[in-house]
């Protein structure tokens, strides 16, 4: 609450900062001097208002003063000092919330100097995506629950243009890698400073199940589970020691202060939910099993196959942050490519039906962007969920009040009600039926939604790669289909080394690719670790297999699937 009050007093001074730092985004055609003194009052009139908290107002007015909604209704009066916006033909929704992502956190958040005790360990590791590290942590990077998203935030208006084009006004944002990834924050997507963006921190603990890169422990999924288990047990033990010492320190050795284990105490006390990245049925089941084992409060993020676990999610009261980054049909298979497995066809067919099935089963869910690269897909995919049986109201709730409730900010966000933060998403036409987001209000300030990015943002690793693997048993042709989600990679391997799903996949911004997969050799089934460098549409690297000499691989992918004519494999900023 303190945050909120402070933000109000800052509002007018901040307005200057906004106009200075972000000239293109400040209310247009108003000079700096006027801006400084202008009251932040707006009235949207004659608009169709969907407040979510109540019935739709077919023609009404919303008044915003100093960042807060002060009046809503068919006959709400327009104050004399308000800048009036004619909303005829427009629909106003509560500001959409991205229920999970890393918005506002630069993709290569630089690690703090002198990381943790284990942070410097494997020096020869191929550098993966940078893991954030907390100062003076006793635990290695990737296992530092004390990390706070808010400490990694950067106010970057350009980075928000994509999400804003999809109507997003606020987001849950969390560090993007690690096992214990850190703690998230709810932020507004506009603001001159990170503190101005901040709504609530910390919100939830995040667990990512992704193994350490470069050979340090743990480097496999089972090691990840062991590490999680040991750390949660250690946190329990830490809590017991702390309590005993607090009760009577005399004669007892002072327990070591451990910020990581301290950060886990609210998790063990069930005060803080744990958001667990899990997409497939078995990933979700494993996450739920772990949550049960330690009696923590899970929220599943991703949830691609959540409909297969709907009964259990409902029975255990576990909400889902459902990725709307639905799988896409690859457009550019090689003419002699194997047919896609039926599982993949089904995955694509089922994705839009998933939300309706969860709604029907009574599972609480919110929509998250899931590392979507093309923001135009955000509402298109939700619209396809609506045509697959989800009601528009259910879809809207999953973008507004449900995430607000899940993150404990429903007193501030999620509906159009008097007293709430003035976050509004305004569209021409029904946004779930082809309508276009035209304008947003974030923290009571207008933001123009620019045309959504239509071209596919280039992806570093996604696509179907044709690889030749050279091992001690000879050259083996394989096909590797990769799906990119932020810096994570999912996918399958097919061909002369069997068929298997890829695990622990990652790709860095510089194109360093790494994944582990079970391969079938004449002698045995072995685990192979592929590590390579993507350069445009070519890749080469090494294959490590226990008990075998190291191999190598080279390969390509069809040009149109990935980086189009890029040099050096660098990720381009999203086009707009």
């Amino acid at each position: 609450m303190a945050l909120l009050t402070r933000r109000f007093t800052m509002a007018t001074t901040a307005a200057l900062a906004v106009s200075a730092a972000l000239p293109s985004r400040a209310p247009a055609q108003i000079g700096v001097q006027c801006e400084r003194n202008a009251p932040e009052v707006y009235a949207i009139t004659n608009a169709r208002i969907v407040p979510v908290s109540g019935a739709v107002i077919e023609r009404g007015t919303i008044v915003i003063r100093n960042g807060v909604i002060t009046a809503v209704g068919a006959s709400a009066a327009v104050p004399a000092d308000a800048r009036s916006i004619d909303g005829a033909g427009l629909t106003v929704y509560p500001g959409f919330i991205d229920a999970y992502g890393s918005l506002g956190i630069p993709s290569a958040a630089a690690p703090a100097a002198g990381g943790g005790r284990g942070a410097g360990a494997p020096t020869t590791a191929p550098a993966g995506p940078q893991l954030s590290t907390a100062p003076n942590s006793l635990h290695p990077a990737g296992q530092q629950p004390e990390i706070l998203a808010v400490d990694l935030l950067k106010a970057d208006a350009e980075a928000m243009a994509g999400p804003e084009s999809a109507g997003l006004t606020a987001a849950l944002t969390a560090p993007s890698s690690g096992i214990f990834m850190g703690r998230s924050a709810v932020i507004n997507l506009a603001g001159a400073t990170t503190q101005e963006m901040l709504i609530k921190s910390p919100v939830a603990m995040h667990i990512g199940f992704s193994a350490a890169r470069g050979g340090g422990y743990p480097n496999s999924l089972m090691g990840v589970f062991a590490a999680l288990r040991q750390m949660l047990l250690d946190a329990q033990h830490y809590g017991e020691l702390d309590a005993a010492y607090a009760k009577n320190p005399r004669g007892m050795r002072r327990p070591e202060n451990d910020p990581s284990l301290a950060a886990l105490q609210p998790v063990l006390a069930r005060q803080m939910p744990v958001i667990m990245l899990a997409s497939t049925q078995r990933e979700i089941e494993r996450a739920l099993d772990l949550a049960k084992e330690f009696n923590i409060r899970p929220i599943i993020a991703g949830g691609g196959e959540a409909y297969l676990v709907a009964d259990r999610l409902k029975a255990e009261g576990v909400p889902v942050l459902l990725s709307v980054n639905f799988p896409k049909r690859p457009t550019n298979a090689a003419p002699d490519a194997d047919p896609e497995p039926l599982r993949v066809l089904r995955e694509r067919a089922e994705a839009p039906k998933n939300p309706a099935k969860l709604a029907q089963a009574g599972v609480k869910f919110a929509f998250e962007s899931g590392g979507i690269s093309n923001w135009a897909d955000f509402n298109t995919n939700i619209a396809s969920a609506v045509t697959s049986g989800l009601t528009a109201d259910q879809a809207l709730r999953a973008l507004t009040i449900t995430p607000a409730e899940l993150f404990g900010v429903s007193d501030r966000l999620g509906t159009i009600e008097v007293g709430k933060i003035a976050n509004l998403t305004i569209s021409r036409g029904d946004v779930f039926a082809g309508g276009r987001v035209t304008k947003l209000f974030i923290d009571g300030k207008p933001v123009e939604a620019r045309a959504p990015v239509t071209a596919n943002a280039p992806s570093m690793a996604a696509g179907t790669w044709t690889l030749t693997v050279t091992l001690d048993i000879g050259e083996k042709p394989i096909t590797v289909a990769l799906i990119e989600e932020g810096d994570r990679i999912r996918g399958t391997l097919q061909g002369a080394l069997g068929s298997a799903q890829i695990s622990d996949g990652s790709v860095s911004a510089a194109g360093e690719l790494r994944f582990t997969v079970s391969i079938t050799l004449p002698s045995a089934t072995e685990e192979a670790t592929f590590a390579g460098q993507i350069n445009g549409n070519a890749v080469r690297g090494t294959v490590q297999i226990v008990g075998h000499p190291p191999g190598s691989f080279v390969g390509t992918r069809p040009a149109a699937e990935g980086a189009q004519g890029q040099q050096g494999g660098r990720r381009r900023p999203p086009q707009r």
Partner: protein
């Protein structure tokens, strides 16, 4: 290469298709026991109690209820005419890496804290293929990268059911150890590939080092156990305000090993390293359950027998590395003759489907009887995994884990036709054929919904990079 690839696809596709069938139906709900089944007029290979011609088997409540002639089917039973066919116990594969989403936690040389059970995939296609080879139980082991690897999982291949149902209820827990070249990473070359840093050598890099790693780990485990014993003694004495010692997931399983509660399955090749481990186990007061691979086992058969240790080997796979050069096809037969409980394993998703042929090789080379050979892929595996009271032979009261074979399973011309686990059919050749047709239709419909087969490169507008 092209041709063999196509052939591989032709084999793989139907099974892949079937794999997906089970996925959507997987539910957490417990299911009622399967209806009773009466298998009529088969040649029954009990493996432990001899061979019976023209004999019936009645399955009820997931168990073998009766074996005999002219049994009557209870009401509601499905009756299968197995005239001319053979029934044998479900095959047990004591060394598998199937259905595991991870094989090695290769970072450290002691990873007793990791658990295969955490990463099992209940819809892995290899489960289905192994069922088609008459396999019903597998021992999913951690890989051999570490001196002390992870905890294994004994699994019944209830394909598509939740993992919790597949874990063999009542099977003693176990752990993988490994000795020799895989641990020293002797076969990992030190060639530096430009742009790729070569991984540092990891301790231990010799067999001496492996012994030290083991002794160190068990010494730490002994101290850990002492710490807990002291704590429990204080609690028993009524001391108040005590904080329990830290739980250590690395050492807990090793304490269980010393207490005889956890089976050690030790990957090993050479007789010297096997003897080292047997001596070290004696020093720390535990028994090694099995030596895995153990290609040199025949050289020290009496010592292995005396230690009460089992051995699980290959029928005829050898010479793939230095430590595998002394292998002979008589290894398992010699071990059996010396009283060692010996088995054949696959260590391969592919070979796991034809363990019956590996058993037949022991008849050909080792001079074993049919029953002795069959035991190496059934009953002896059950003994090694501590589940011989439930599976491994056809006996009244045991789990109805069995397969109907088209002919004698020791013949290359025979194949498994129907595979049961606890009385429920998990593979059936005829059902499989029906399913293929259904799935072909589904595929066609799904592709149609996406407007035809996926566009290929040739149909695209040429891209600059294609030039």
């Amino acid at each position: 290469m092209k041709i063999s690839l196509l052939a591989a696809c032709a084999l793989a596709v139907p099974a892949t298709i079937v794999a997906q069938q089970a996925t959507p139906s997987r539910a957490m709900t417990a299911r009622p026991a399967a209806a009773p089944t009466l298998i009529k007029n088969a040649t029954v290979l009990t493996v432990t109690k001899g061979r019976f011609e023209n004999t019936d088997i009645l399955i009820q409540n997931g168990k073998i209820a009766q074996i005999g002639k002219n049994l009557t089917a209870p009401a509601g039973a499905q009756v299968i005419d197995a005239t001319g066919k053979y029934v044998m116990p479900g095959i047990i594969d004591p060394h598998s890496h199937s259905m595991s989403d991870a094989v090695n936690e290769g970072s450290l040389s002691v990873t007793s804290m990791v658990r295969i059970a955490d990463v099992l995939n209940p819809t892995a296609i290899n489960i289905y293929r192994e069922l088609a080879g008459g396999v019903t139980t597998i021992n999913v082991l951690h890989g051999s990268a570490n001196t002390i690897g992870g905890q294994n999982a004994t699994v019944k291949l209830k394909y598509g059911r939740p993992v919790q149902e597949m874990l063999f209820a009542g099977a003693p827990p176990g752990i993988k150890f490994a000795l020799g070249e895989n641990v020293t990473q002797k076969n990992r070359s030190n060639v530096v590939i430009p742009g790729q840093p070569s991984p540092p050598r990891r301790y231990p890099t010799s067999r001496m080092g492996q012994e030290e790693v083991l002794r160190d780990a068990f010494t730490r485990a002994r101290d850990y156990r002492t710490g807990w014993e002291e704590y429990r003694a204080k609690v028993a004495k009524g001391e108040k305000a005590l904080v329990a010692p830290r739980r250590d997931l690395e050492l807990e399983p090793l304490v269980e090993v010393m207490e005889g509660k956890r089976l050690v399955h030790a990957h090993s090749y050479r007789s010297d390293e096997m003897l080292m481990l047997l001596n070290l186990a004696k020093e720390f007061g535990f028994k090694v359950a099995t030596l895995q691979h153990g290609l040199d086992g025949y050289k020290i058969a009496s010592e292995i027998a005396q230690a009460g240790t089992g051995l699980s080997s290959f029928a005829d796979d050898w010479s793939y590395k230095i430590e595998a050069y002394d292998a002979i096809p008589y290894n398992v037969a010699i071990l059996l003759r010396h009283g060692v409980v010996a088995t054949i394993n696959s260590d391969s998703d592919e070979r796991a489907r034809r363990l019956n042929i590996d058993a037949a090789k022991l008849v050909r080379y080792g001079g074993l009887t049919d029953d002795e050979a069959l035991k190496t892929i059934t009953y002896n595996g059950a003994l090694q995994l501590g589940v011989a009271d439930k599976v491994g032979s056809l006996e009244v009261g045991k789990d109805a884990d069995l397969a109907i074979w088209s002919g004698d399973p020791l013949s290359v011309y025979s194949s498994a036709e129907t595979t049961f686990i606890e009385g429920e059919i998990y593979f059936d050749k005829k059902r499989d054929l029906d399913m293929r047709e259904k799935m072909a239709k589904e595929r066609a419909a799904l592709e149609q919904a996406e407007r035809g087969p996926r566009p290929t490169r040739a149909t695209q507008i040429p891209n600059e990079d294609d030039k």
